[in-house]
């Protein structure tokens, strides 16, 4: 099999840039746009998603020979929903503020196409080790985009970064950045930027 030749570290690294779930494959856009109004929210959402994708990839990779092909999507969704419930209860119990802030977007991780996509495209076809690394890479790649997007929006929109004041009082806050339009515009510019960087690297 040709697949065996891919070094195992590649499965981990590809999630950060080459196959980044948000910037390249455009998966999981809803939570990306919705909760990136501050860096902290972005990280919390990223961690919750990483947890769910790792747990469900592990589970599905172990069960992949037992799940009948016809009902695989339904089984994947039930497994994912179970782990999302765990993550939701955990956040509500230990970090009630963050849980309140993220609101219904935590349960909506269930329908995050990034997670289902990884199960369908990867975990259901590969062994445990590779699936785990793939899930970890994808989760952290997702987290880093959320963190960057959240940082940009928080700095420009509220003048703070991770709740510390970074811009002086003279700076007039761009309120629009923490409102919905700011999310679309920032992500659009980030996608353009990543295309530009990829193009430069391909030429170099």
């Amino acid at each position: 099999m040709a697949k065996k030749k891919i070094p195992i570290t590649h499965e981990f690294i590809k999630g950060f840039w080459k196959e980044n779930p948000v910037l390249i494959s455009l998966l999981g856009l809803c939570p990306t746009l919705a909760v990136s109004n501050s860096a902290i929210n972005g990280v919390a959402m990223g961690l919750a998603t990483t947890f769910v994708v790792i747990c469900s990839s592990t589970m599905i990779s172990l069960l992949r020979k037992m799940i009948p092909h016809q009902v695989r999507i339904a089984s994947f969704i039930v497994i994912i929903a179970t782990f999302v419930t765990i993550a939701d209860r955990f956040l509500a119990a230990f970090y009630p503020d963050i849980s309140k802030e993220l609101g219904p977007y935590v349960p909506l991780i269930v329908v995050n196409c990034l997670i289902l996509g990884r199960q369908e495209a990867f975990a259901s076809k590969n062994n445990l080790g590779r699936s785990l690394l793939d899930a970890l890479g994808m989760g952290l790649g997702f987290l880093s985009v959320l963190f960057v997007l959240g940082s940009i929006r928080e700095i420009l929109g509220s003048g703070t970064w991770l709740t510390f004041q970074v811009l002086g009082d003279g700076f007039h806050h761009w309120i629009v950045m923490i409102l919905p339009p700011g999310a679309f515009l920032t992500l659009g510019l980030l996608i353009g930027l990543s295309n530009w960087i990829n193009d430069k690297r391909a030429k170099a």
Binding site: C30, A81, G103, L116, G188
Partner: protein, 192 residues
């Protein structure tokens, strides 16, 4: 009157796409052509209204009396997934033209976050059964509106000279941002 307010609020003031960021994937994927945007919007509205009713019944008649609200997400997503299948079979049986129009869009709806989002929002806001149904129709109409506007703009964009690196997803996001800005004008029209 309250029903009318719920409808308007879900359709324009708190448009699902532009204020809650729900359903962005089909919004980006299916907004290339006007005709497919209309079909997609119709299928979503259809499934949304039915699932709003069914999830309300399940939550208030099964989950609450047995104190198993913790199963909310698992049961909702299962219901939505099987409902979409059921609706697909039903539509194929009763109306061939409708099935041909909605055809490939129906299965895609399972992973559309608007459907689950709608169910969760109407539980959060303690809507009654009828209010949930109206909320579903309103949110579906809002989604259709967003999709149709976007498709219209993207058909024009095909002819525009977009900077190379922004072609495709980049420009779509930026156009969506401007549209969201426009939709903010509706804020304050009514409050829930």
């Amino acid at each position: 009157m309250k029903l009318f307010i719920i409808f308007i609020s879900a359709a324009v003031v708190n448009n699902f796409v532009f204020t809650y960021f729900l359903g962005i994937c089909p919004f980006v994927g299916v907004s290339k052509k006007l005709s497919s945007a209309v079909s997609m919007g119709m299928s979503v509205t259809f499934v949304m209204t039915i699932s709003a009713g069914v999830t309300w019944l399940i939550y208030h008649l099964i989950l609450v009396p047995f104190h198993i609200e913790i199963l909310e997400y698992v049961s909702f997503i299962l219901v939505i997934a099987s409902l979409v299948q059921l609706v697909e079979m039903f539509v194929r049986k009763i109306s061939k033209p409708l099935y041909d129009a909605l055809g490939i869009y129906l299965p895609l709806i399972t992973t559309n976050c608007t459907i689950l989002g709608l169910a969760l929002f109407s539980i959060l806001r303690n809507y009654s059964f009828v209010e949930s149904l109206i909320f579903g129709i309103g949110a579906g109409a809002g989604f259709t509106l967003a999709l149709v506007i976007m498709a219209g703009i993207r058909e024009e964009l095909e002819l525009a000279n977009v900077p190379k690196y922004f072609r495709g997803a980049g420009i779509t996001m930026i156009v969506a941002g401007s549209l969201a800005l426009a939709f903010m004008g509706f804020a304050g029209l009514i409050s829930i």
